[in-house]
């Protein structure tokens, strides 16, 4: 059966009196390219934080690969196969690029079992990102695009089933956006499920098979990129008409 990889049921998250998410449902299929969009402050990042475990949702539940993960801590979710990149890169600054990748390899992918050649595996991932020349550079010496790529590489090193890419392309040039899109497409072809959060419409519309639109913490539309483009509610949310 074509099971969903991720099911988010009626998730609500409040901060004090403010409701950042109100009973949102998301269903992401195995090996899908899924887009999550919405205006600023619509709750996209809160949604990701709830899925990855950085925040605990107040209501609703989250099921991943058939298992209810609503109450388990973030690090265990990563071990189960959910990895994310951060919108603002958060590298491990005292380590080299290679060492950065060894953390998720060791902790999430292999769960510190002995005798695994971590560095070799890390190099393979860097090759995929065409960053092998930066392997022994400390993260302080990286450019903005390299930091973004490191974010993705590090998330990949957790060997996830589901990759959540949180605005990996903001502030990048067109060719750089295409670079990253190409990487994500290739990973998806190898079986990875991808949730893309993005402001760059060109990227998310080209990439996604299905898109959900959030506005003010609620789901206002869901469908193929074509359906979303022609949706009146979406237009209103974005243009504020």
């Amino acid at each position: 059966m074509a099971e969903n990889l991720l099911d988010v049921h009626g998730v609500t998250k409040r901060f004090g009196g403010f409701s950042a998410l109100t009973r949102v449902d998301l269903h992401v299929k195995e090996n899908e390219r899924f887009g999550l969009i919405g205006p600023n402050g619509s709750g996209k990042t809160t949604m990701i934080n709830c899925i990855s475990g950085a925040l605990a949702n107040d209501e609703g539940n989250i099921v991943f690969a058939g298992r209810d993960i609503t109450r388990i801590p973030a690090y265990q979710r990563t071990r189960l196969g959910i990895a994310r990149s951060f919108q603002i890169p958060k590298p491990f600054v005292s380590m080299t690029v290679l060492e950065n990748l060894c953390i998720p390899l060791e902790y999430a992918a292999h769960q510190h079992s002995h005798g695994v050649e971590l560095r070799g595996e890390a190099m393979e991932i860097l090759e995929l990102m065409s960053m092998t020349d930066k392997a022994d550079v400390r993260t302080g010496g990286l450019t903005q695009i390299e930091l973004r790529k490191l974010e993705l590489a590090r998330a990949m090193a957790a060997k996830p089933k589901l990759l959540i890419s949180d605005e990996a392309m903001a502030g990048l040039s067109n060719t750089e956006v295409d670079d990253i899109l190409e990487i994500l497409v290739r990973l998806n072809e190898e079986g990875l499920t991808v949730i893309m959060i993005e402001h760059i419409m060109r990227a998310v519309m080209n990439f996604s098979e299905r898109i959900v639109v959030l506005d003010a913490g609620e789901k206002i539309a869901e469908g193929t990129p074509d359906e979303i483009v022609n949706n009146k509610d979406v237009e209103r949310a974005y243009l504020g008409a």
Partner: protein, 319 residues
């Protein structure tokens, strides 16, 4: 077992045996007393660094953990006078549990709350001990050291040997942690806690492990204290010096490796021992305080970092 690890263990064993051999050769009690204090700081600085340097959480309460080890020993000595190794184990146990407890209460919050709690901890524990007459209360109590001990010509030499062994063991513990997956996870927490958790690092477990091990080592360092000073009182056991020195030494030496606290403790500790003869204790403290602030502001990577930079520059010139 890797080659590196074997070498390290051999060096450790040689150091322990060597410190024993010294006691069979040398007689001057002053040197043993001075060396004991320096070695004690090696343990404290190394212990502090496991939490502070590796994991990035500042403990201001070294004095509290140290004194809890010392007073656990005093309470045991008053009841049934067990052998020293029992005191070491129990002192480590009590302070380790203290670290675990404080960590559990505060480490789920923003890290700074842990630091604040440890800051207040020393003051409160000192007050409780001062009100506990069984261990001497505020006035203190005299502790009779065992008259003799086999293989050593006097008890001070024995204590020196014990502290030397403890120093070697604690540096070895720090080294093992640093080179293991635990240490790499700690470094990830120090660099970016949120990212570490998202990369599968069990942050709360590792932080609690660090507070427990760090606290236990401090308690172990404190356990022989009453035998060493002979007369123990809360003001000396809880002295702010322990808190200041144990964080100043790694800061001066360098915090990211096992070598930093060792270098810092040996240099600063030895300098202090020499200075006590010539300078007032206040001037001594003034120097440590200024060094601490100076290094934190101007040389964040400590002496080890400075040395590394110089070496890199020299290598660059040769190339």
């Amino acid at each position: 077992m890797s080659k590196e690890r074997k070498l390290f263990l051999i060096v450790a064993a040689v150091l322990i045996v060597g410190s024993f051999l010294i006691t069979t050769q040398m007689e001057n009690r002053f040197y043993y007393k001075a060396a004991y204090v320096v070695l004690q700081y090696v343990v404290l600085a190394t212990a502090w660094n496991i939490l502070g340097g590796y994991t990035g959480y500042v403990n201001f309460g070294t004095a509290a953990f140290f004194a809890m080890g010392a007073y656990t020993a005093v309470a045991l000595i008053k009841t049934w006078k067990p052998p020293l190794y029992v005191l070491l184990v129990m002192g480590g146990l009590v302070s380790g549990l203290l670290g675990l407890g404080i960590g559990y209460l505060t480490l789920r919050l923003k890290g700074v709350f842990f630091s604040i709690a440890t800051l207040a901890l020393a003051v409160v524990l000192q007050m409780i001990i001062s009100n506990w007459s069984y261990v001497g209360g505020g006035a203190g109590t005299a502790i009779l050291k065992p008259r003799s001990v086999p293989m050593f010509s006097n008890y001070d030499e024995f204590l020196f040997f014990v502290m030397a062994a403890l120093a070697v063991v604690s540096v070895a513990v720090a080294w093992l942690i640093e080179k293991s997956w635990v240490g790499r996870g700690m470094a990830a927490i120090r660099d970016n806690e949120e990212a570490a958790e998202c990369m599968g690092v069990p942050i709360l477990k590792l932080k609690l492990f660090a507070t427990t091990v760090s606290g236990a080592l401090m308690g172990i360092a404190g356990a022989p204290f009453s035998y060493f000073v002979v007369y123990i009182e809360p003001t000396s056991a809880f002295h702010l010096d322990y808190a200041v020195n144990s964080l100043a030494m790694p800061m001066i030496g360098g915090t990211t490796t096992w070598l930093g606290p060792l270098v810092g403790a040996v240099l600063v500790g030895t300098a202090q021992q020499i200075a006590t003869v010539t300078l007032s204790s206040e001037m001594n403290l003034l120097i440590v305080g200024s060094l601490l602030v100076g290094f934190v502001v101007f040389a964040p990577d400590g002496l080890v970092g400075l040395f590394g930079k110089i070496r890199a520059r020299l290598a660059g010139r040769e190339a």
